[in-house]
């Protein structure tokens, strides 16, 4: 290994002396500005400066509000994550890597029963064991908590009942792990076993002992945690459809499968403050919940986010084991570390909901989509978690990117005696999206048109409103579809490949940040706040609560600050680990971090920039508007020789006040309708994606291999193309797991059978297809430099793309994920019986003959393309609401011009009879519950 490769910053230079020793080196960049050893400045990187402000970067979508803040420093460049060196050297500290002096080890005692009353707990034997320092049970922490304020239903440890196998009952702390495990086994718990339910359909029925009493109101005495009804548009449109799809879908539960098991270290310091180290996506929720459970004010708790070894939604709840560690540590007076076994990771779960989803979709004579009927019953497991929101997302996130005549959704989330389901990458949207996209494929076949053209002719344009009232700003859906069509050579392959080979399309639509912060009113308090501080040395310290879970949020924040201030990214130090120093932030979920935190960071950086320019104005005498910031220098636009270094300007700006400090915040604009649940799915921007997948199906065995994926994702503007591509490919991997191999298998008695990574099948490197990431940049008007999310949306399209490709390959649609070989083979065998053939190689493959509609659609798509371009560049600023495609006037409320147009959040009595499976939850009356909890 010869020298020459890069070094860790601040270390040797890579030069070797004669005696073989390394020469101590300099930073890879010189000291700031003209006073240093490298007074020369790098020329401005015009390729990364937008053309509207004199650079060479093309702006097909027109100017952006942040254009003038661009300096060509980092934005748009593929740079490594700022914490990459910590990760490749093994220095990154994850939950279990926090080692404090005198630490002891905690273990959790878990329920062996699905559902039982805890009659008594005898801890005496455990306490008597030498080496045991503390034991705690539910009595030590009776306060309830939950991630959403409306559904607080968890305790640190079981208070009255255990609700699934693996539910927490007690915990112990001892000098070492062996003693802790031994002590845990010595805790004797007496249970009174109750009738457990495992089938989510049973959750709709009345029972004697619901898993929870739903606060003040309860739907009958069922296990329904949340029921949703949403109806928009004119229902009469779906009568006499030209094409119709009806699909009953079954999805298994999926676990996040992050590589780092949960771990936590709690320590009450000498001032009696709790220091809690935890790999959390949302340290702020944990912070709030800890305060509630421990009865300690929030300012007496410091939540320290360690590096997070993968989150994907699975580390966003406040977890009971975090409370346990804090309780044990308080009792023991020593730091307590609890680390999970992989099995325990499956017991806390919070993965994707197992669900039954039924969709009916209709298209009219012009191949417009006249209606979606969606019914989603989702299995929440033992606790509410994020389920309140998930129940909405399963429906409302299907209202775009297509223009709909009507939309009808009923959803219900039920409690069952399984580990709780929660938020997982693509929260709530994934399963319904798969069903809907497959439905479109099916309808295009009935209509005799190309499924891509069907989509292209039914898209909502940029700057429009969906049927449910979501405000769509930038929209790169059309371009994404066109790119994957071109890239995959779609027109020569679709319905033309031989048996066993297939190609399929799928689209996605996802929120970029949730419009409603869960814990406060967005009109009173911002979504995200970022502080910047610069002291005499010129280094920029950025304080943010954005939780980097590997997606690179720290890098994104550092990048935008570096961009605005035209500083090397090495000079930006992001501090985001501690709640003591970070402004309150909602953390990493709903794909909000880049959008909201980077926006806040830009604001804070602009304030600093203004101070620097004013200082330069004082010295140089040129107005800030004529000054340019570039590579640690500030100079006069027309004569770069007239200028001063960044450090000089900084010191001038600091003359009277010392360190420069600024604060920036982001608040989403007011948006959305007024109906119940209008806030669910509301976001300041939405991402769009389209994938084409190619698969090979072995008709003899039912084995599916996905070989190629063309993945186009509209992320607004790729702040860091390397990271965006990584997110796209990673999403493909995770989605592919759900569609082909991954499932949480519950046995006949309801026991989870594959709580380990051997039986829970995450795709390995051999199952990965060639993924061609294609970045679409629609430049969102409100996004930071135009950026939107790229972390979750790219997961959605891979599922339907694969399912559609399988149909293209063997002519069979399977509505039961994952598509494991046994299911596929069973479907092939059934088809062979129906067709009366013995040899699977004789299976008929679908072929497509275009109907006369095809030409019409292509024409309409071409017209819409022109319309979209105009709207995107704001040449056409007329209002556009869902319904214009059907001939309605966007300037008059639709209720006034269409008879029967409505928007409802409760079913009418006459509708009750025709409700779907989940809709059955509306048959029961809500009743005030007098006894029980709350």
């Amino acid at each position: 290994m010869s020298g020459g490769y890069k070094q860790q910053p601040g270390s040797g230079s890579g030069e070797v002396r004669k005696d073989g020793k390394r020469v101590a080196g300099k930073q890879s960049f010189g000291p700031p500005g003209s006073g240093g050893s490298r007074p020369e400045m790098k020329p401005r990187d015009l390729d990364f400066i937008p053309e509207m402000v004199g650079g060479n970067e093309k702006q097909p979508a027109g100017a952006h509000i942040h254009d003038r803040a661009r300096t060509g420093t980092t934005v748009g460049k593929a740079i490594p994550l700022v914490d990459a060196n910590a990760k490749v050297t093994g220095q990154a500290w994850y939950g279990d890597d926090v080692r404090l002096p005198n630490e002891i080890i905690g273990r959790i005692v878990r329920s062996p029963h699905h559902y039982a009353k805890v009659v008594s707990i005898d801890t005496s034997k455990a306490e008597a064991l030498p080496g045991v320092i503390a034991v705690a049970t539910g009595e030590d922490a009776p306060n309830k908590f939950g991630v959403l304020p409306v559904t607080k239903d968890e305790h640190a440890m079981a208070v009255e009942k255990v609700r699934h196998v693996g539910d927490l009952v007690a915990c112990v702390a001892a000098v070492d792990e062996a003693t802790a495990r031994e002590a845990a086994s010595l805790i004797e718990v007496e249970y009174e076993v109750l009738d457990s339910i495992h089938d989510m359909k049973k959750g709709l029925e009345d029972v004697d002992e619901p898993i929870h009493w739903r606060g003040k109101y309860h739907v009958g005495t069922t296990n329904v945690q949340k029921r949703v009804f949403q109806e928009f548009g004119d229902r009469s449109m779906v009568e006499n459809p030209n094409a119709m799809y009806h699909g009953k879908w079954k999805y298994m539960g999926v676990n996040h499968g992050f590589t780092e098991p949960h771990a936590v270290v709690a320590h009450w310091d000498s001032n009696g403050r709790l220091q809690l180290y935890t790999p959390q996506q949302v340290p702020h929720y944990a912070h709030r919940a800890l305060a509630t459970v421990l009865d300690v004010p929030m300012h007496q708790i410091n939540v320290i986010r360690t590096f997070v070894g993968g989150g994907f939604g699975g580390k966003s709840d406040p977890f009971p084991h975090e409370m346990c560690a804090a309780i044990l540590s308080r009792k023991a007076g020593k730091p307590v570390r609890i680390t999970f076994d992989r099995e325990e990771v499956f017991w806390v779960n919070r993965g994707r909901h197992p669900s039954h989803i039924e969709v009916q979709m209709y298209a009219d004579e012009e191949a417009r989509i006249s209606g979606f009927d969606i019914d989603a019953l989702i299995d929440g497991g033992g606790f509410a978690s994020f389920g309140h929101v998930t129940s909405y997302y399963n429906g409302v996130l299907a209202t775009a990117p297509y223009e709909l005549g009507s939309f009808h959704y009923t959803g219900a989330r039920v409690w069952t005696n399984k580990p709780a389901s929660g938020a997982m990458r693509g929260h709530g949207a994934v399963n319904t999206r798969c069903a809907v996209e497959v439905g479109l494929d099916d309808m295009s076949e009935q209509l005799g048109v190309d499924p891509i053209d069907l989509r292209l002719a039914n898209l909502l344009p940029p700057h429009s409103r969906t049927i449910s009232g979501f405000r769509i700003t930038s929209n790169g859906m059309r371009q994404a579809l066109q790119e994957v069509r071109k890239g995959s050579d779609w027109d020569n392959k679709f319905r033309k490949l031989p048996l066993g080979k297939g190609i399929g399309i799928g689209c996605g639509f996802f929120i970029s940040g949730s419009g409603l912060p869960i814990h406060w009113d967005p009109n009173k308090f911002p979504h995200a706040t970022v502080h910047i501080q610069i002291d005499m040395d010129g280094g920029v310290t950025v304080h943010t609560g954005a939780a980097d879970i590997g997606q690179g949020s720290t890098t994104a924040v550092a990048q935008v600050v570096a961009e605005v201030l035209a500083l090397p990214i090495e000079m930006i130090h992001v501090r985001s680990h501690e709640s003591d120093t970070s402004p309150v932030d909602l953390g990493s979920y709903s794909s909000r971090v880049t959008f909201m935190n980077a926006n806040a960071a830009i604001r804070a950086a602009l304030e600093i920039k203004e101070k620097l320019l004013n200082a330069a104005w004082d010295t140089l005498g040129y107005h800030p508007d004529t000054l340019v910031l570039n590579d640690r220098r500030i100079y006069y636009k027309h004569d770069p020789a007239i200028g001063m270094s960044y450090l000089e300007a900084l010191h001038k700006a600091q003359e009277d006040k010392g360190a420069l400090i600024s604060s920036g915040a982001y608040r989403s604009p007011p948006m959305g309708g007024v109906h119940k649940g209008a806030a669910a799915g509301l976001a300041p921007a939405y991402s769009f994606s389209a994938y084409v997948a190619e698969v090979e199906v072995d008709v003899e065995t039912g084995m599916i291999k996905c070989t190629d994926v063309w993945a186009a994702h509209d992320c607004g503007k790729a702040l860091n193309p390397l990271a965006v591509e990584g997110q796209i490919i990673g999403s493909c991997h995770m989605g592919l797991g759900q569609v082909l191999t991954e499932q949480m298998v519950y046995g006949r008695t309801g026991h989870l059978q594959n709580a380990n990574l051997l039986d829970y099948k995450i795709p390995s490197v051999h199952e990965m297809p060639n993924v061609t990431p294609i970045i679409i940049e629609s430049c969102d008007p409100e996004g930071p430099f135009g950026a939107k999310e790229a972390g979750e949306g790219p997961l959605l399209p891979i599922l339907p793309a694969v399912v559609n490709a399988v149909y293209d390959a063997i002519g069979i649609r399977i509505n039961d994920l994952p598509l494991t070989p046994d299911k596929v083979w069973a479907a092939i065998a059934k088809r062979m019986k129906v067709e009366g053939i013995d040899d699977p190689s004789e299976l008929p493959v679908p072929r497509l003959d275009f109907s006369e509609l095809q030409e019409k659609l292509a024409k309409r798509a071409a017209e819409h393309e022109i319309r979209d371009k105009k709207r995107q560049r704001s040449e056409d600023t007329n209002a556009y609401v869902n319904g214009v495609l059907f001939g309605f006037n966007p300037d008059i409320p639709l209720e006034d011009q269409v008879e029967g147009w409505k928007s409802a959040d409760k079913p009418q009595p006459e509708q009750l009879a025709e409700l779907g499976l989940a809709g059955k939850a509306w048959l029961k009356q809500e009743q005030r519950h007098m006894g029980g909890e709350n």
Binding site: Q8, P80, H256, F307, E725, I729, G730, L757
Partner: protein, 222 residues
């Protein structure tokens, strides 16, 4: 949970002296005779870079090199590694100078959350030590025991290929390697006319590379 047949875990097995060369330093520690190598490395020798993802040989996060061979430390008895020479992720760098494989993982997006990264680094370094010109298939076989939930492996393979180029001396540094990135096993013409998606997963980037050769600038690396 508690039954008569329960076998107590404590008092633990007797402690014995365990010694091995860990990252070039001879270490002698007292460890229970039935200790697992992963525990000894993490708890006794301070190699917290070795990660525990599953404890049962399914994730690869705990991979270390024992006498040059990649091994899962969670499935290795510490006593079996007694007297051997062990390299963990902490031992890959030369002082403060990152090994090419580390630099390439950072530069090519081979590491997102980074929890799997130590295992991947050690497994791929073991491959590069014996084969500095691996094909994508050979790389896939070398890392098949490692799970990564974040990256989808594609950028990991790119990183390893880039590091291999440095090992072969074809690229001076990761920076240069990423620009030149010669393909040891070309499977298609490297012309921008190539239909997208057919050479290999990373061809988009390759196309761009070809483009910048023409136009004199790299669209990605500056």
């Amino acid at each position: 949970m508690v039954g008569d047949e329960y076998v107590s875990m404590i008092p633990a097995a007797t402690s014995e002296v365990w010694s091995a060369e860990v990252n070039g330093q001879v270490r002698e520690v007292l460890a229970p005779s039935n200790a697992i190598l992963l525990d000894v490395l993490r708890d006794k020798t301070g190699c917290l870079g070795v990660k525990r993802g599953c404890d049962m040989g399914t994730c690869g996060c705990c991979t270390v090199m024992i006498d040059g061979q990649p091994r899962l430390s969670c499935l290795t008895m510490a006593q079996d590694a007694n007297g051997s020479s062990i390299t963990t992720v902490e031992g890959l760098a030369d002082g403060a100078h990152l090994a090419p494989i580390q630099q390439c993982f950072a530069e090519h997006g081979g590491s997102q959350c980074g929890f799997c990264t130590p295992g991947f680094l050690v497994a791929s370094q073991a491959l590069l030590n014996t084969n500095s010109n691996p094909s994508d298939a050979e790389i896939a076989c070398a890392i098949e025991g490692n799970l990564c939930r974040c990256t989808g492996y594609q950028q990991i393979i790119e990183s390893i290929q880039a590091a291999a180029a440095i090992h072969r001396g074809e690229a001076e540094s990761a920076q240069a390697a990423s620009d030149a990135h010669p393909d040891p096993h070309p499977s298609g013409p490297e012309e921008p006319t190539m239909p997208p998606g057919h050479a290999r997963g990373n061809h988009v980037w390759r196309l761009q590379t070809a483009a910048w050769k023409r136009f004199g600038r790299s669209p990605k690396r500056r």
